[in-house]
């Protein structure tokens, strides 16, 4: 593996991982917020995360 290639892969994966994790957190917050925001008459959603 070349030096440059390693750096490209390493940085890309890192940025992607952190970004994905951040997006997952935010999305989860929005989804659960909606769930609660709608209130108690909805039956609990079977949300798998």
């Amino acid at each position: 593996m070349t030096n440059i290639g390693t750096i490209v892969v390493g940085y890309s994966v890192t940025i992607f991982s952190v970004g994905f994790y951040a997006a997952w957190i935010v999305r989860r917050g929005v989804l659960i917020g909606k769930e609660i925001g709608i209130g108690s008459q909805t039956s609990p959603t079977d949300e798998t995360d």
Binding site: M1, I4, G10, Y11, G29, V30, I32, S40
Partner: protein, 259 residues
């Protein structure tokens, strides 16, 4: 039928349900900006190493990641200790320590994973192999798995108070275990190594590279803090949802009984 919200449930404004507040928005902007500058510094401005060439740039990710991870796990241990001391079952006081412990551990696991991955890439280029059985690497893998286990324990179906307490105990025990593991493996490998002791040793970092590394640590800290705050809030939301589901089931049961 509109339910009157429980006193414990705070008013849900739109921004609350999305877990963002003005403060975190600022932090997000700062983090994003810092990250861009970091990319510039790490990939372009800072020099390639005499020996390793461009591979040294991997360290700007690898080293701050593990620092962030250690900090996160340390935070998990502290908040777990505080939880055990302060938690009152009847009033549910002290739950925030548990939430923070969980958020910190998850962030720690993510960054430990990044540490391992970036370390393996760096090792492939510099040592020629993805893995070395030295103390640091082996301990880091065990650290990773330990806190994966901790996160699994947190997800178990059980009474929240029970689960939180067990998780807290585990966090504290794990915190003691990590130095023991490190010492054992270090001793093992030191006894084993006859020749070159430089395996697993990182190079001395000076000058521009040093400052890039420090700046990277700062950036990583911003990002990790943002992640932790939001994760904490989402945990809070999850608890609220679980509580509401429970109330719902109780109501249904009560209305069944009254028929």
């Amino acid at each position: 039928m509109v339910e009157v919200s429980d006193q414990k449930t705070p008013k849900l404004s739109k921004s609350m349900s999305m877990t963002a507040t003005p403060a975190t928005r600022v932090l997000a902007t700062v983090s994003a900006g810092a990250s861009l500058v970091l990319l510039l510094l790490a990939l372009i401005v800072s020099p390639a190493d005499v020996v390793q060439g461009d591979a040294v740039r991997m360290l700007y990710i690898h080293v701050p990641s593990i620092w962030v991870a250690y900090g996160s796990f340390g935070l998990t241990a502290c908040t777990s200790g505080l939880f055990i001391l302060r938690y009152k079952r009847r009033t549910d006081r002290g739950r925030h320590y548990d939430r923070l412990a969980g958020a910190a551990a998850e962030v720690g696991v993510v960054f430990t994973g990044i540490t391992l991955f970036s370390g393996m890439l760096w090792g492939k280029v510099t040592w020629g192999s993805y893995w070395q059985w030295d103390a640091r690497l082996t301990t880091t893998v065990l650290l990773f798995v330990t806190y994966l286990g901790y996160l699994a324990l947190r997800r178990l179906p059980a009474d929240p108070g029970v689960r939180a307490k067990r998780a807290a105990i585990m966090a504290l025990v794990s915190f003691v275990n990590v130095p023991i593991v490190h010492f054992s493996v270090d001793w093992w490998r030191t006894l084993h190594q006859k020749a070159s002791l430089s395996i697993g040793r990182r190079p001395e970092i000076t000058g521009d590279m040093y400052w890039t590394l420090m700046y990277s640590a700062l950036t990583f800290t911003f990002v990790a803090t943002w992640l932790m705050i939001h994760r904490y809030r989402v945990i809070r939301l999850e608890e609220m949802r679980d509580e509401e589901m429970l109330q719902q089931q109780l109501r249904e049961r009560r209305s069944e009984n009254s028929l």
